[in-house]
Symmetry: C2
């Protein structure tokens, strides 16, 4: 039930630091395994398990217990000609080992997302794409970049929670109840892998829906 | 009252496309000027004004009417050794031309943010930093990455609006009123350049506050 991380050491350490900060804030802890063919980075946070080996090989991923992992994050490694191809290979190999693994891939080229998703990744996101979109938002709605950065890295979080306490309620009533019960703000519903942000007041919360909530971590 | 964009053509065109999409969605239009020492990119969207010249030079920025622009976005250009230095230079030169210009800089190295902010940028954000943090969030709160991407690029938007209609109301009452008046969800308050996400119910909206709202663009 651990997360396995592959990819270029500097990117991996940035991600691991963000992950550790978030675990500390949320109280949700998960073991982290970092796999690389390079030497163990001296600044790898302790408590992170390090596996040395070529992460495109099945043997290496099995040594990282990918068969028992809950998630795999693949970050780019190498130049723009080879990094996404390497990521694609890693997705295919990891998927063959563990059909229920949750795989998130970061790509250098957004156009490769469709191939990586077809090969078995659950999410694919291009490096810098969020930044680009956030900057465009900032020009039109000044302050939104700060709001997004604050949302992501500050003492607030976007949570996704089970809706069972709220099924049968309208979105409007659920908004009020979530504010009272969770000190959070309900912003949308995750239904059949689709995200409904700010749906109509009359939308009824159904079994299986998940609720997307924004919450300040300072107010418990 | 236009926006000037500097930086590597491929990044600039991605940003310009995101900006045009957002203008179409929001109905808020702003003229775009792209400045580069390279030839005009063949895939530059029409209606974007192109200025050829070295954007680190005062003369070039004056030709782009930076003195009358409302915003300047600087994207990285060049390798990791030189791109942020170039950006720093452009911030300094643009700030000397226009003290009220709103300057957003995208950096290759997050550690350079402090220098660029000291030199006069209003916002500085590292390429990929949002992606890294969003992926870390996804491991802890599965579904949040999709929610963030959907928020940023889907038919929903984070808006920042004037609070004058709502001053004197508690956050809790403003939440209900914003839902009714704007079909949006109030998630926080921008006060003195500080972002308060999901503050206490009792926080009173003050003159000068701005409201951060999440809204679906499909529901007018
Ligand atoms: Ca956070
Ligand atoms: Ca959008």
């Amino acid at each position: 039930n651990h997360v396995v991380i592959l990819g270029e050491p500097e990117r991996a350490i940035n991600l691991i630091k963000a992950l550790i900060k978030l675990m500390d804030e949320s109280g949700k802890f998960i073991d982290i395994v970092y796999v690389s063919e390079f030497e163990k980075p001296p600044n790898l946070p302790k408590d992170v398990e390090f596996i040395k080996g070529n992460p495109t090989l099945k043997d290496t991923l099995i040594r990282a217990n990918v068969d028992k992992a809950s998630s795999l994050i693949i970050l780019p490694q190498g130049d723009s000609a080879s990094a996404d191809a390497r990521t694609l290979m890693e997705v295919v190999v990891a998927r063959s080992i563990n059909p229920s693994l949750y795989i998130v891939a970061e790509l250098l080229n957004e156009g490769n997302a469709e191939y990586v998703l077809k090969a078995g990744a659950d999410e694919a996101i291009a490096v810098g794409s969020l930044t680009t979109i956030a900057m465009a938002n900032e020009i039109i709605y000044r302050g939104s970049l700060k709001a997004i950065m604050r949302l992501l890295r500050g003492n607030s979080e976007i949570l996704v929670i089970n809706s069972s306490k709220y099924t049968g309620l309208s979105f409007k009533d659920a908004l009020i109840r979530v504010r009272e019960d969770e000190s959070g703000i309900l912003i949308g519903v995750l239904r059949n892998n689709e995200v409904l942000i700010s749906p109509s007041d009359e939308l009824i919360i159904k079994p299986g829906d998940e609720l997307i909530i924004i919450k300040s971590m300072n107010i418990k």
